[in-house]
Amino acid sequence: MDKLINDFSFGLFVWVSIIFVVLIILMRKFAWKPILEALNSREEGISNALKAAENAKKELEALNADNERILKEARAERDVMLKEAREIKEKIVSEAKGEASAEAEAIITNAKATIELEKQAALTELKTQVAGISIDIAKKIIKSELASEESQLALVEKSLNEVILN
């Protein structure tokens, strides 16, 4: 302790105090202040940039979500439209089918009626013609059969025989 006190130099102490005060003032003004300000502004810049990036990411996500939603809606709308179209088509087709079959049936019915009528007419005509032809044939046969005496007699005979037999 004695030695420590002996070693203590007042002059050195005074000089160190002065130099240190001046050093602190100078360093504050010329070094620490600009350095710390630069560091702070850099750190703020970095954190701001990070925040901006985060925001941009969020916005992008929102945008993506929107797109997704719109796409989904569009798809749903398309599906609905398709479904409706399909329904309409089916309806139209079935309606057309119904109408067509009804018409066809009507036509067929008409045709059948007409055919029946025509058939009846034809049959009637045919009957008339067959009757006429038969009469003609009969006339011709009778004419030929009754051309001679003998044949007339033979016929009478025959007819008499038939009548007898009956």
């Binding site: 070693d7 007042f10 002059g11 050195l12 005074v14 050093l23 360093m27 620490w32 630069a38």
Partner: protein
């Protein structure tokens, strides 16, 4: 031998600069490697220079004495001790004297001496004495203690690093403890330590001014500033912010950063062969701790003083008992700072030089090669530790300063 050592010194600095330059871009990865290279570069030159320094110390102490410690050694020295030279530092007492001489301040900056010719290689520093007016002259006038300087009607003599008023013949009077009783003039000389501090201050200003200027070119520093910037951020984020608090730390950054880099750079330069011992000087550490003390007292808020003189939350008798303890605590905190720094650096220098002395002391038992080997190995080892201590002490001083400041400015919401 002398020029050799000087070149070694230059070479060392060149190597440091080169290393920094080479590894500038990969300094992060190669931190450890750089450290080791620097160590290897520094240690041999240190030993070389110390070798020379020891011759210089021989100039101050003529004969071997048989006393155990330095103080006793001084007692037995004859008055004419400064006049003769011997062949170096060979005995334990001479080693102790030499270490004491290194640890103390001096009035000239001597790198090494030629004991045979009596030459000291270095430069003189101005002596400023306040004794019936201001007396300024160069320390070379003392001729390293050989001559009495006469200014006006007063005579001054340099004796063991201190300036005493003497008669024309330079007689030193002693008391019963063999301490000089001559009057001492107020000595405001630019001593070796003052000179070193000035040089370090200028170095710091240049270094950090360049870092500050670098930010004008862009937010990312380049070159050596890239090494400095993380340290500034370290002091801010690891020392000031957590201890003082986010709101108030800015005000104290100037002091904390300055004190951190001042102590660190000074400690590091103390490890170089320049042979300066600034932070191992009690006057310097007292001054630094005084700054912390003053800043703490002046930034202390109402709560701080209340906690010292009238501790809240305890019974009245306890408040009375606690007040003197807390007042004592005001002074013991900075006192521990100054003692810690002083003791650590002094111890480091003493151990390094003591181990270097093994070269001479252990020559008989270990042989020349053995003593040199053991000494160099141990010195390298201690030097690596000292590199760590240099940083650690700067860190602890700054850290505790900011802790004390933090305690003084803290807001106590819970009371």
């Amino acid at each position: 031998m002398k020029t050799n050592s000087f070149f070694k010194l230059l070479f060392t600095f060149a190597q440091i600069l080169k290393t920094i330059n080479i590894h500038e871009r990969m300094i992060g990865k190669l931190n450890l490697k750089v450290l080791v290279v620097l160590m290897l570069a520094l240690v041999p030159s240190f030993t070389m220079n110390a070798n020379d320094d020891q011759h210089q110390s021989g100039a101050y102490h003529e004969e071997a004495t048989h006393h155990e410690n330095n103080e006793n050694a001084h007692k037995a020295l004859p008055h004419s001790e400064e006049e003769g030279y011997n062949d170096g530092v060979n005995t334990k007492d001479e080693v102790a004297d030499y270490i004491q001489h290194h640890l103390g301040d001096s009035h000239d900056f001597v790198f090494f001496s030629d004991e045979a010719a009596g030459h000291h290689y270095g430069f003189p520093l101005p002596i400023i004495l306040v004794d019936n007016g201001l007396k300024v002259f160069m320390s070379s006038e003392f001729h390293h203690g050989d001559k009495v300087v006469t200014k006006g009607d007063a005579h001054y003599r340099l004796y063991h690093g201190k300036i005493y008023k003497t008669d024309a013949e330079g007689t030193i009077e002693y008391d019963e403890h063999h301490h000089p009783t001559n009057a001492k003039p107020l000595d405001l000389s630019i001593t070796k330590n003052v000179f070193s501090i000035l040089a370090i201050s200028i170095l710091m200003l240049l270094l950090f001014r360049s870092l500050a200027k670098g930010y004008k070119n862009g937010p990312i520093p380049t070159g050596f500033a890239r090494v400095l910037e993380p340290l500034v951020i370290f002091v801010r984020d690891e020392i000031a912010r957590p201890n003082i608090g986010e709101k108030k730390y800015r005000k104290f950054m100037g002091f904390l950063l300055t004190v951190f880099f001042f102590i660190w750079i000074t400690n590091l330069l103390g490890l170089t062969p320049l042979g300066i011992n600034v932070t191992g000087n009690i006057a310097v550490t007292i001054c630094l701790a005084l700054f912390t003390f003053i800043i703490v007292q002046f930034s202390g808020n109402k709560d701080y003083w209340k906690h010292i003189f009238w501790m809240p939350g305890v019974p009245v008798p306890m408040k009375i008992v606690l007040a003197p303890i807390e007042v004592l605590g005001m002074f013991t905190k900075p006192f521990s700072l100054l003692i810690r720094l002083f003791a650590n650096i002094t111890a480091g220098h003493t151990v390094v030089m003591g181990i270097l002395a093994v070269i001479y002391i252990g020559k008989e038992t270990l042989g020349t090669g053995g003593s040199i080997g053991v000494s160099l190995f141990l010195t390298l080892f201690i030097n690596v530790i000292e590199l760590l201590v240099a940083f650690l002490q700067a860190y602890i001083f700054t850290m505790l300063s900011s802790l004390f400041i933090g305690m003084a400015v803290e807001e106590h919401d819970h009371h």
